[in-house]
């Protein structure tokens, strides 16, 4: 029993805490310098500090009382909850064309904690039209992305999502990003076959406004190269709005050694079928974030620092401020 208490006291020592601080600082710097550095550089010192803090709270009565107690206990709980958040978090991204529904297969996962509950399949919404405001100098301002979320009546409720206005469904937070672009909708009608309609993602716009091209091979048809000729190029001196629905655009088709320019609704005849340019829509790239501990992190962090402020306030109020020697309250004369 005595040996256990002695071990606890050793673990609670200020030297261990300072070593933890130093290791955490070194790990943080190393991880910042090299993003590929192992997470253990930060996780291991945090575990050491959590053990040190827990032992200090257990062995030092002062750390369990008043504002200082609130601070240290909330800080320890915060570290444990933050670790839980790391283990259950999910981060990913997805690109959705106007009219397309969110599908789990389209989501590119960037981080998935081992305890993540995997509820993304229960999330559903349909991408609607979007627009993006730009300030002079092609500086991106507000994004307004409309999405349709299924409601209890079997219909779709329209919500507007932005960079700073996430769509939150089942705990997953969807944020728009700078990554978005144009998507011409085309219909391929093979001779004697069934027509198929789909959209083609062009490179991100206006980032790659000079490279709006893509290629595809329709079923049973030749390879087709497609270019978008945008009649109103990006004006980098004025404010403007990106709205794929209203952009005057022609689709330039290169196939079988021929070049054709199609306005929306026009077609080009190829040897094995007809390619029709239906309309221009857009695609929007979303960032997906899931961390069920977010509200708890906020509450605990606020509680911890409020405890610290309370402790400080009581100390300041309890002891008088020192007075200068001699004349009081003057700047040097």
């Amino acid at each position: 029993m005595t040996r256990a208490l002695a071990s606890l006291a050793s673990l609670a020592s200020a030297r261990v805490m300072l070593a933890g601080f130093a290791l955490l600082a070194a790990g943080t710097y190393a991880a910042h310098d090299d993003p590929a550095a192992p997470a253990a550089l930060i996780v291991a010192p945090l575990c050491l500090l959590a053990a040190n803090l827990g032992a200090a709270i257990a062995t030092n009565r002062r750390l369990r009382r008043g504002g200082l107690g609130v601070f240290h206990i909330a800080l320890l709980t915060l570290m444990i909850v933050a670790a839980g958040g790391r283990l259950s978090r999910f981060e990913g991204r997805v690109e959705l064309t106007q009219g397309q529904s969110l599908g789990e297969a389209a989501v590119e996962v960037t981080t998935r904690g081992p305890l993540h509950p995997d509820a993304l399949s229960a999330v559903a919404f349909v991408q609607g039209p979007f627009s993006v405001d730009y300030a002079p100098g092609v500086r991106r301002a507000h994004t307004y992305s409309e999405v349709g979320v299924p409601d209890a009546g079997g219909g779709l409720t329209t919500r507007t999502v932005g960079d700073d206005t996430p769509l939150v469904l089942e705990g997953y937070r969807f944020y728009t990003t700078h990554n978005k672009g144009l998507a011409p909708v085309v219909t391929w009608s093979p001779d004697g076959g069934t027509a198929q309609t789909g959209s083609l993602h062009m490179p991100s716009y206006p980032l790659f406004d000079w490279k709006q091209e893509n290629r595809f091979t329709p079923p049973g048809g030749p390879e087709v190269r497609l270019f978008l000729r945008i009649d109103t190029p990006v004006d980098d001196q004025a404010a403007w709005r990106l709205d794929p629905q209203t952009m005057p655009t022609a689709l330039v088709v290169h196939a079988e050694g021929r070049r054709s320019e199609l306005a929306p609704g026009e077609s080009v005849r190829l040897t094995s079928g007809t390619l029709r340019f239906e309309r221009l829509t857009g695609w929007m790239g979303y960032k997906i974030y899931f961390d069920p501990t977010l509200p708890w992190l906020f509450v605990l962090a606020t509680l911890a620092v409020t405890g610290l402020a309370w402790h400080l306030w009581r100390r300041v109020m309890a002891s008088p401020m020192p007075a200068p020697r001699g004349h009081m309250g003057e700047f040097p004369a």
Partner: protein, 283 residues
């Protein structure tokens, strides 16, 4: 050839910088003229310091206000705006601290030259107009920025006190601050301000995390400013624990305070210097 058009509010800000320079010069001259054992004089350069500081704050505040009204947003974006707002807010916090704690008024000879470093930097920074990204259009930004000012303000006052402890340890400068309280009392006072700094910085990090979550879809991503703000927090927390655990002497404690302030200063103004804008990459 087109002429370079300077923002109209610059005249006010430059006027404020000049007044800051005068206040700093008078504060140092007054300290240098202190004679050991002599009674306090009621006339001299030091008497002008509060008035000059107040006038500097009025001028810089007017310049910031004019710019704000002209471009439609507060001073949050480029180095010019961050330095100007910091010069104003730190001067205000220091003035308030001097009013509430008269014992620290003679630290002006340390604090005002530090603020002059920022003022000189302001003179050479680019005053071009800035564009407010939509991610900055949130009330949480206000909390984050104000708490940051509170943190650096408390650290600045502590730095002034620590500077006095260190400077008067040198025989040639001992007379400059002879009329201030003893080292033990100053040390206690300085660490109270450091505790205040820890509180403000902790709240600042929380407000920043709330802002980052809704602005960029993550509450913490180790961007350069976040990393260095966290390292500053660690250094501050470690320094306070060292002070509490080992009861180090006033001079060593003063060195710790100077170290933490330098780290905080580099975080506030050095990181944006190579990252161009606060939280570059996420904007």
């Amino acid at each position: 050839m087109s002429a370079i058009i300077q923002p109209p509010e610059l005249a006010w800000i430059w006027c404020g910088v000049a007044l800051y320079g005068l206040a700093a010069t008078f504060a140092v001259l007054a300290a240098a003229r202190s004679t050991p054992g002599a009674p306090a004089r009621h006339a001299g350069p030091g008497r002008a310091v509060p008035g000059l500081l107040a006038a500097a704050l009025i001028c810089i505040g007017a310049g910031i206000g004019w710019r704000w009204q002209r471009i439609g947003h507060g001073p949050f974006l480029n180095m010019f705006e961050v330095l100007a707002s910091s010069l104003w807010s730190l001067g205000l916090i220091y003035g308030f601290a001097c009013w509430r704690v008269p014992a620290i008024r003679r630290t002006a000879a340390v604090v005002l030259p530090v603020l002059m470093v920022m003022a000189c930097w302001l003179l050479v920074s680019n005053p071009a107009d800035t564009h407010l990204p939509p991610t900055y259009e949130t009330p949480v930004l206000w909390f984050h920025v104000l708490l940051g000012k509170g943190f650096l303000g408390c650290a600045l006052v502590a730095l002034g006190i620590a500077g006095v402890i260190l400077l008067r340890a040198r025989p040639r400068l001992a007379a400059w601050f002879e009329r201030m309280p003893g080292d033990a009392a100053l040390d206690l006072l300085a660490w109270r301000f450091m505790l205040g700094a820890l509180t403000f910085e902790s709240f600042m990090l929380i407000a920043g995390a709330v802002w980052a979550q809704d602005a960029w879809g993550r509450y913490w991503a180790w961007d350069p400013l976040e990393t260095w703000a966290f390292l500053t927090w660690l250094a501050l927390a470690a320094a306070i624990h060292v002070r509490v655990s080992w009861r180090i002497g006033p001079r060593l404690g003063a060195l710790f305070i100077v170290g933490v302030f330098v780290l905080a200063f580099l975080t506030f103004f050095g990181v944006p210097f190579f990252a161009v804008a606060p939280h570059k990459g996420a904007v």
